[in-house]
Structure formats: structure tokens, C-alpha cells
Amino acid sequence: MNRFAAFLDRLSYEAGRNAKIRLMVDYFRSVPDPERGYALAATTGALGFVHAKPGLIRQLIAERTDPVLFGLSYDYVGDLSETVALMWPAPAGAAEPGADHKQQPPPTLAEVVETLSAALKPDLPHLLARWLDGLDETGRWALLKLLTGNLRIGVSGRLAKTAVAQLGGLEPDAVEEVWHGLSPPYTELFAWAEGAGGRPEARDPAPFRPPMLSHALEEQDFDTLDPQAFCAEWKWDGIRVQASAGERADGRPVVRLYSRTGEDVARAFPDLAEAIAANSGFRGALDGELLVVRDGRVQSFNVLQQRLNRKTVTPKLVLEFPAHIRAYDLLVDGTEDLRALPFAARRARLEAFVSRLADPRIDLSPLVPFGSWHELGAARAEPAASGAGVDADAIEGCMLKRRDSPYLPGRPKGLWYKWKRDPYLVDAVLMYAQRGHGKRSSYYSDYTFGVWRTVDAATAARELVPVGKAYFGFTDQELLELDRFVRRNTVNRFGPVREVTHAADSGLVLEVAFEGLQASTRHKSGIAMRFPRISRVRWDKPPSEADDISLLERLLAGRISA
């Protein structure tokens, strides 16, 4: 467990993707089964056991420390698990040399996981205290984070699977394909990756198939791409989902709704999952967009977001935010794998499949007819007038798919393209800057920007109000220049944050591109931006000419009422 804790500790501070993979590969290579398998499960969130509540942890520490000292410490550290991990006293007698009392040996991760999965709630306090006694500070921190289900080390499941793949010469997608049939501690998987065993059998009746992704369309692509070779669809502003359904040996259905990264989100959408399970016509796997559809009308992403990330799904939520799948590809029909077929053939099978389902919650994403790129460009500019009708608000551009393209995992070149709607733009003023992480830790690369707001209509006095934060979109050369600007124009420092000069006649205007707006009570401006990035640095523009918040407010109002 101490080895696992040191590994987690290092991962939690590391910002670089490749460095994280290197740390994981090193750990998986040097730690035996089943310990490494449980570590993999912990990083991918695949461990299920009774989680300890903060109340229990508070009770344990209260029995062992002075309340005043605990209070002062907690105030200083600011995190309960960490405070307890650091303050936990050495077990009585352990420090005395020659004492009979032998110190608890540190538990292994495997011992923790296996014991916990069999443990009952009343056993928890005793178990936890015994383990904490045996561990060092970092070990206690890792244990408490694991037990409260709150690892937060910035490792996605995909990244962990990539690291496993790198143990041998596997592709990450190959690991994805077998992943959902496996369970901790993944002994077979490691054996396969290290060349000591064969490919684990895909026993899952509803496995995940790594999705096919597209490239962004660039201006010069129009010169080389033949419009006749492509089909076009709307690009929906929802969540990519792979609905996969099969049957166990006993005939019971298994339904999974996989996100793009292979996480099963079915628990958040029981209405859909149950409908699919009950529909014996749905056996196979389709690729589509998860949307909220109310009264026959696709709702914007803002509405969908209100259903996401809810801990509990109430009947009221299901009723208010009815989930829907707009299907655009069929990967498996029954048990027949269609992925090698050309897109056009799969599309025909998909149309038959969806009509057979006869479920209003699952429909087809229509093809957008076009004869030339110019025609498609016109449709993309005006989806409402080009067949999308009332659903236009949930469209963020077009998808182009070669008629002859097989369904390949990952992002193969030359087959699928996304042609996104032009982003919204706003001219904002740089207000604060903060250093980045990892490679960027010596650069001021995180920028908070604001727009003008009238504070006194009579005198037309204006102030800048922050509306967002962006940390990419610029080139390396622009970053150097922005960094220099921040250093030379700092007017104030608040810890790691520098306030940069921002007045009507001095300061820097940033053209910010973003995908949409949401009303937000968390931001002073009342607005939160989706996906903001710096699209241009306007060295030429005085801050007084930056935009006013009324522009954003109109946009927000328009989006809500539309």
C-alpha cells in the first residue's frame, strides 16, 4: 500500500500526459499481481465497495487527537483526509524501543480491496484504524482518498489503459476491446500485455467498441475532397454514446451506454437503458448522440447538462429531461459485426434497425442532402432552413463521412470530418494572469478576461467585469509575447495571480472564441462560457473598444428563448 501511495502521490503532482504514462508503466512493471491490478482498478474508478463517510473519519481522529489541535490543523490544511493522514498518531507503544507491542505491518492494496469488498459497515472503523496505524503519511492519505472514493489524480481510464498497452506492444484500442469483460485485479490482461498469455476472451455480452473519431475540416481540404464521395449529417451538440445490448447465457439482457471514453453511463439514464433492455429488437451496438428531447424538440446542451452528473436520478428528473438517442451508425446487428462494411451499407442496416425498434426514444440522425461544398456550407450556416427545423439550436455544424469508410477505432485519416459552426467571438480585456502547470510553469499562460459593464448610466461610467478564463488557443510564439506582456504590465500580485493593467487606454484586448453561454450564479458576471479559447491577440485594439456585457447578455437571452 505504501508503494501504491507513493505512486498515487507522484501521479497527483504530475501534469504531463506522457510523464503520467511513464509513471504508470514503471509501476505496473515493478509491482506484482494482484497489487498492480487493484491499482489499475483504483485509477480507472473500477473499485466498488462501501465508501467510508467523512463522519467516520472525523470520529476516528477525534478519539485520538486533541480537538483544539485538530481544529487548528484542519483549518491550515483545508482537506479532511489529508489532515487526518498527517495527524494520525503513531500507535501506542510503537515508538518505544524494545517494546513488546509490534507495529502493525502496512496492509497491501490487495488486502485493503479484498477485505473491504467483503466487509460490513460496522467493521469499517476497526479495519480503518488498524490500517492507518500501519501506514506512513502518504499511505494514510492514499487509503483515505481511496475509501472516500475521491482519488482525483487526473488520470482518465483511457490513459491507464494506454499505460497497460505500453507494457507490451499493444494498441490502447485493443485493451479497450477486451476491457469490459474483465474485472480487478486484471491478471489475464497484464499477462496478455506482457506476452505471457493470450488475449483475454471478450466474455461481456455488451462490450465496448472504441469509437471512430473525425478530424476537423480545414480550408484547404475542400480542394481535394470530392463531395460525391461523402455523406453529410448534422453534428449534434449532445454526448456521444454507444448503446450496446446483448444477452447473458441465461437469456437476461445486458445494456450499456458507453461514453466516448468507454465509461458506462447507463446508471444516469435508466429510462433509456430499461427501454433498450425490454426491446428484444435491440441486440447489437449503435453509435449515436445522447440528447434531451422535449415535445419533439431537441434541447440545447445547457438543458442536457442539467441532467448530467446528478448523483441520483429521480423520476421527476427523468420526466423533465427525457433522454433520447439520435442514431448515426450501426456497429453490430444482433451478433453480426458490421464494422468492416462501408458506411453506406451500415447506414442502410441502421435505418432498418431503427425502424424495427419502433421506439420514440431512438431515432435516426437524418442525412443532409447536398451537391457541392458550397451547398453544404449554406446548410451549415442555416440549419433551421435546411431541414433541421426546431432542432437547429442543438446543432453545432456538420459531419462528413466517406461513403466507403469502414468503422475504424481512433481517428483514422481521410475518412470522417467535422465541420463545426463558426464559434462565437468576443473582444475582451486581459485582467489577470496565472502561471500554467508542468511545461508551462514558468509562463503566465492562464488568462482571466473581462468585458465592459456600465455602472452608472448617467455618467456612462464603465468597469470591466470578468467573464471567463482561457489557457489555450495561442501559438508558442504568442505565449512568449503574452508572458512578456504580463510581466511588464503587472499592477498587483495576489499569491500566484498577477493583476494586469486594464483600463480604457492601457491593457491588452484578446479576441476570445467560445461555443456557447450559460447563466451561472457562480460567476460575478452571471455568465459562464463554454470552451473559451484565445483566437487572436489584438495588439492593435485599445481596451476601450472591447465589447460590452450587453452583447453576451443578448446572446444568452436569445439562446434561452430560442
Partner: protein
């Protein structure tokens, strides 16, 4: 005689009117006794300075030979009569030359009262300085930099092990380690050598002078090198796979950009708290401190046998509370102007943007 007759708090710092001196004064005074060479304790411009020979050498290296009108060295264990008190120095284990100051009243003035001002101290073994020696006393004035029970320093060797493992795992990256130029830097070098690593260690310009001074005092630190001057695009100055020591503030600044995909490390007791490490953008925190941790603060107070404890610079409240729980009389002594808040010593700050040759203007 009461303790408060022997030592008083004045705007210049702790003052002993009976002996006619201040301890680590914050502004120029007639006569100062200096506990150790860190710049917040050892300032230039006093009329006379009494300290260990090592501390005097450090002050001369930093401020030049004229840092005081009259410098007087006192060895550990030797005593000296100053006015109506006797003064002696005892090792504090903090950095080279660091001392506790032992003040005793004379028997003629009634029962002898002994007060010990700890200065900064630690109990963990350190090859670069004399180990701390507890001195029995009536009143113990303790520092409290890490005076919260969350601060428990792990063995320094295990932290060095962490560093060397990372160097082995990322041989194409430079490990730049932030460390105070006086004491911590030299201790790190000694620890790295003790761990069996003989590779060259590269030093930021701000560390050279004091490191030489440690070497002159007989400490063997192996192959130490200056960072090759040159432009940032110059491959020779990128130092992949090397360990580079620099003042803490330099790890995040322009100076650091020359190195090969640097891993930013920081050796400090503050690294025990994750939020502090994150806030500084540290990727590899090394919990190595030259201050006593909580357990050692408590242990030391007990060992001195003092019935009264004054707690200075740091987390006074928690330690005062602990003393009270133990039945000791305790009070916080709100001394401002000292302290290790996790940043460099004040005078090292210019290293922030200047550093060595080849840095950005």
C-alpha cells in the same frame, strides 16, 4: 528575578537589558548575539556581534568584512560574562554554526535563572552541522515554524531516494530542486552523496559562495559545477538528466526555461501540505526541513525541563495550547520579521528574475 526582567520584547527584537545585548535584532543595535546566518536573523550594521565563528564567517561572506564594528567568536560550550549575565552558546542543528543562546543570571542576584533562546533548530541528523544539544533551563524560548501536528518530517534519506528514482525514470529531463542557498542546499548535496550518487550537481549562481564556505569548513560535497553559460537554445546548457540546485523562487522563473523539460522540485518542510506544493507548481515535493517538526518540538520542550515556554515565529497557538495541556506555563511571543514562510530568504529574492548569465533581461 522574573524572566521578563532578563529578556524584554522591543521593536528591535528580544533584548537583554542586564547584559546589554539584543538577540537576532531586526534593526541595527549596539551589541547583537546572532543565532545563525539566515538573513532574517543575521543582519548587517550592528555595533558589535557575538556568534559562533562559523556564523561570523557566513555573515562576512554575505555582507563583506565590514558587516559589524566588532566581531567576537564564541565556541559551543564556552561561557562569557556580559554585564550582569553569563552567556553561552549550544549547537542548534539548524545550519552550519547555528546556536542556541543560554543566558544565566548571577548568583549574587538571587536564585540563578537560566533562559535558553533556541533560535531555529532541528533534531534530525545533518552531516553539515553540529547536532542539537538540549540544555536544561527554566525558560525555553522555542521557534514554532512547523508548530502544528500535521508537520511530521519523514527521514530525509527517503525523500532523496524519491528524487534519485525520479531522475532514473526521467533521464531526459532536468530535475531542478529549489532549496535555500544557506544550509538546505549543502545538506541536499551531502544527502545526495550519502545516497551513493556521484554525478555532478549543478549550482545556481546564488549558491556558489556559501557552498564554498561549507567546503572550506571541511565538508566534502563531490563534483559540483556551475551551470554552463549560454543561450537557452544551447544544448550544452539544457542539462538533461542532471540535478540542478537553485533558490526556491528560481524554479518557476525565466531562468528555468533553459533546462530540458524540467521537473520542478522543492525541498522544504512546507511540502508536507499538498495545497502548498500545488500552489507553487511543484511536481516533485521533497519534505526535507531544517526546522524541528511537531514531534521534535514537543520532545525538545520536555527535554529542557523548562517550566515556562515562550513560543516565537511560526504557529504559536498550537504549541502554546500543547504546553498548557502539559501543565507548563506558556505564552506566544509575537516576534515579527522572522520566519520561513516557504519562500527564499529576503535577500535572495533578486535571483527571481536575474539568475545566472544568459537569463532574460
Amino acid at each position: 528575578m522574573r524572566p521578563s526582567d532578563v529578556l524584554k520584547l522591543t521593536p528591535a527584537g528580544l533584548c537583554c537589558p542586564l547584559g546589554g545585548f539584543h538577540i537576532d535584532p531586526l534593526r541595527p543595535v549596539e551589541r547583537a548575539i546572532i543565532t545563525h546566518g539566515h538573513s532574517d536573523h543575521a543582519r548587517a550594521g550592528h555595533g558589535a556581534v557575538l556568534a559562533t565563528a562559523e556564523t561570523l564567517a557566513i555573515m562576512a561572506a554575505r555582507y563583506g568584512d565590514g558587516f559589524t564594528g566588532a566581531a567576537q567568536a564564541l565556541a559551543y560550550g564556552e561561557a562569557l560574562e556580559l554585564g550582569d549575565v553569563r552567556v553561552a552558546l549550544a549547537p542548534a542543528g539548524h545550519v552550519l554554526g547555528s546556536a542556541q543562546i543560554v543566558i544565566e543570571t548571577k548568583p549574587a542576584a538571587g536564585p540563578v535563572l537560566r533562559i535558553v533562546a533556541s533560535g531555529d533548530y532541528k533534531r534530525e541528523a545533518d552531516p553539515t552541522c553540529e547536532p542539537f544539544r538540549p540544555v536544561g533551563c527554566d525558560v525555553f524560548i522555542t521557534e514554532a515554524t512547523f508548530g502544528l501536528p500535521v508537520f511530521r518530517h519523514p527521514p530525509a534519506a527517503s525523500e532523496i531516494d524519491k528524487l534519485l528514482k525520479s531522475v532514473a525514470l526521467f533521464p531526459e529531463r532536468t530535475h531542478i530542486v529549489g532549496a535555500y542557498p544557506l544550509g538546505k542546499a549543502q545538506r541536499l548535496m551531502a544527502l545526495i552523496r550519502a545516497a551513493g550518487c556521484d554525478a555532478p550537481i549543478y549550482l545556481h549562481g546564488a549558491m556558489e559562495r556559501l557552498t564554498e564556505l561549507y567546503q572550506e569548513h571541511g565538508l566534502a560535497l563531490g563534483d559540483l559545477r556551475r551551470i554552463p553559460a549560454g543561450s537557452r537554445r544551447d544544448a550544452a546548457s539544457r542539462l538533461p538528466g542532471a540535478i540542478v540546485l537553485c533558490p526556491p523562487s528560481a524554479t518557476q522563473d525565466l531562468w528555468a526555461r533553459r533546462f530540458a523539460d524540467p521537473v520542478s522540485c522543492f525541498a522544504s518542510g512546507w511540502m508536507r501540505v499538498r495545497a502548498r506544493a500545488r500552489q507553487k507548481g511543484v511536481e516533485l515535493p521533497l519534505v526535507i526541513s531544517d526546522h524541528a517538526d511537531w514531534d521534535d518540538l514537543c520532545r525538545t520542550i520536555t527535554e529542557t525541563g523548562a517550566a515556562e515556554v515562550w513560543v516565537t515565529h511560526g504557529q504559536e497557538d498550537a504549541l502554546v495550547h500543547w504546553c498548557t495541556q502539559q501543565g507548563l506555563k506558556a505564552q506566544p511571543l509575537h516576534l515579527l520579521g522572522y520566519g520561513d514562510d516557504g519562500e527564499a530568504e529576503p535577500e535572495d529574492r533578486p535571483a527571481d528574475d536575474a539568475g545566472t548569465a544568459g537569463a532574460e533581461p
